[in-house]
């Protein structure tokens, strides 16, 4: 039996795995202690649980447990990493390199630092959504202290050349941070092999609870330090004060363990469904996949259906929960800045859908989604004046549109 609507927005958040919930439950009412309470068994139990979770998290990314700083999520981790490095290494320089297609948590943090005297270079991606090593090399200055490049993009799923960029940074003595929110738990991420110095990630994108994330901070070669952005009791080696979210952290640990154990099987199953969905929807005329197909996460596809408007399409596919590249819903009429950065035509950007699959997605759901989307696209094209013009061979760019 198919339950509607079908959830295909797993890049926004994932449902929690029941195994994660099970692990968390005792830490609400029974083992409710404060992990910082040193004087009684309530605190010891909580601390023990946090230590165990820290190991589970560290193991997934091949880090040392001491290198894991628990936070409230990837936004906080990105803030802590970038602002923390900017403050800590102020004597070395003020230049930071990042991408135009980063998440707002990175972009707006950089914008904030610009007001405080930072110089930021925003690298433009190619039409595949990727950057090259040469672009990073050209952007480096004597004052560069940090390069921050997202591991995989949240809208199109493209994976940047991590190892190459990391090696370049290392050779120049520049710290390398990555927002790996979409990648950790989905593809193998290894901070040693990849050469990452700082890495932000979060539990709720990998079947864990919301409100808990981590910042990986390298302790050796080099020993990285960040200035705390939250003052208080000096938790998390002084880098992030605040009582630890014990149930959340326990859930995060369990989520990491499951991802590590099931990654190969999950990926095989999910990517097969994703490829099927994509292939079937590409049967539609004027349908395109946005971003690199080769260097991409296994569970996402971002597709454009030309001559159909994004918000109208979202309404037409109301039985599936997906996200639109058009930000019209948020009152601004701007198409997605990520798709724009790829150089996509506005009218293309206006009609894109992001499908994000999970380990809980079924074949039956994908079949339903395929038919549902096809139907909506055909119906909306039937009522689209742009589609009619396209069919008549009229070049839309030749028309003098009245801006409004």
């Amino acid at each position: 039996m198919l339950n509607l609507p079908i959830y295909l927005d797993n890049n926004a958040t994932t449902p929690m795995d029941p195994r994660v919930l099970e692990a968390m439950i005792p830490f609400f009412t029974q083992n409710f202690g404060n992990a910082a309470s040193r004087n009684h068994p309530f605190g010891w139990k909580a601390e023990e649980a946090v230590d165990y979770a820290r190991e589970q998290v560290a193991r997934l990314i091949n880090a040392d447990p001491k290198e894991i700083i628990f936070t409230s999520g990837a936004t906080e981790s990105n803030n802590l990493a970038i602002k923390g490095v900017f403050e800590m290494y102020a004597e070395k320089g003020n230049h930071i390199i990042t991408l135009e297609t980063e998440h707002k948590a990175v972009l707006d943090t950089c914008k904030h630092l610009e007001k405080l005297g930072a110089e930021i270079t925003y690298i433009r991606t190619n039409e595949q959504g990727l950057i090259t090593l040469e672009q990073v090399a050209e952007a480096i200055k004597p004052t560069t202290i940090l390069v921050s490049v997202m591991y995989a993009n949240n809208e199109i799923g493209v994976i940047q050349p991590m190892k190459e960029i990391a090696a370049l940074c290392k050779s120049k003595g520049i710290l390398f941070h990555t927002d790996a929110t979409q990648a950790v738990g989905k593809i193998p991420v290894d901070v040693i092999a990849d050469g990452i110095d700082l890495m932000s990630f979060t539990a709720h994108k990998m079947y864990g609870p919301k409100g808990v994330g981590a910042l990986y901070v390298r302790r050796k070669n080099p020993r990285v330090k960040v200035t705390a952005q939250m003052d208080g009791g000096g938790h998390e080696r002084g880098m992030r004060s605040g009582t630890l979210n014990v149930p959340g952290i326990v859930g995060f640990g369990m989520a990491c363990e499951i991802c590590q154990k099931d990654m190969v099987a999950d990926t095989a199953k999910i990517s097969k469904m994703r490829d099927h969905l994509e292939k079937e929807l590409l049967v539609l005329e004027e349908a395109y996949v946005n971003g690199s197909i080769e260097h991409r996460l296994p569970h996402i596809t971002n597709m454009s259906f030309k001559y159909v408007e994004g918000e109208g399409l979202i309404m037409g596919v109301k039985n599936i929960a997906v996200s639109s590249g058009s930000a019209c819903t948020s009152a601004s009429l701007e198409p997605s800045y990520v798709l724009k950065a790829l150089g996509l035509d506005d009218e293309l950007a206006h009609s894109s859908l992001r499908f994000g699959l999970s380990r809980f997605t079924t074949d039956e759901e994908i079949e339903y989604a395929i038919n549902h989307v096809k139907e909506a696209v055909l119906k909306l094209r039937e009522m689209s004046p742009l589609w009619e013009m396209f069919k008549e061979g009229i070049d839309l760019k030749s028309i003098q549109w009245a801006e409004h």
């Binding site: 309404m315 198409p335 206006h350 009522m383 004046p385 549109w401 801006e403 409004h404």
Partner: protein, 138 residues
């Protein structure tokens, strides 16, 4: 965002989708909006020369549900009206009828512009001067 029942109804069962012969002297065509803004409306009317009554109205819209509903409603209202009465359709009437939220008022404005633009196209084709738009929306 939640859509009103009327918007959903027009979106799901749009009235009068289609194309009239734009070369006919009896047909007025209005094409408003721009693809990069996410809304393009094409609204057409067919006018009886003798009576000045709008016999038929058709639309095609590229846009969100509110834009589709606004143009669908407009065609419903236009049919059977005289051209002069059609000019009196105000965007706020559409806002009210469809219960459009503030962020979607531009859809109703576009529909009103499409009506005026179709009427002017008809007028010019028939040797009349276009009506000046006295309302400034933006």
């Amino acid at each position: 965002m939640a859509y009103s029942e009327k918007v959903i109804d027009h979106y799901s069962n749009p009235r009068n989708i289609g194309t009239l012969d734009k070369s006919s002297k009896q047909v007025g065509t209005g094409l408003v909006g721009a693809p990069e803004c996410g809304d393009v409306m094409r609204l057409q009317i067919e006018v009886d020369d003798a009576t000045g009554i709008i016999m038929d109205a058709k639309f095609k819209t590229f846009g969100c549900g509110s834009a589709i509903a606004s143009s669908s409603l407009a065609t419903e209202w236009l049919k059977g009206k005289s051209v002069d009465d059609a000019l009196k359709i105000d965007n706020m009437d559409i806002v009210e009828e469809l219960a459009l939220p503030p962020v979607k008022i531009h859809c109703s404005v576009l529909a009103e512009d499409a009506i005026k633009s179709a009427i002017n196209d008809y007028r010019v084709k028939n040797g009349l001067l276009p009506i000046e738009d006295t309302k400034k929306h933006y």
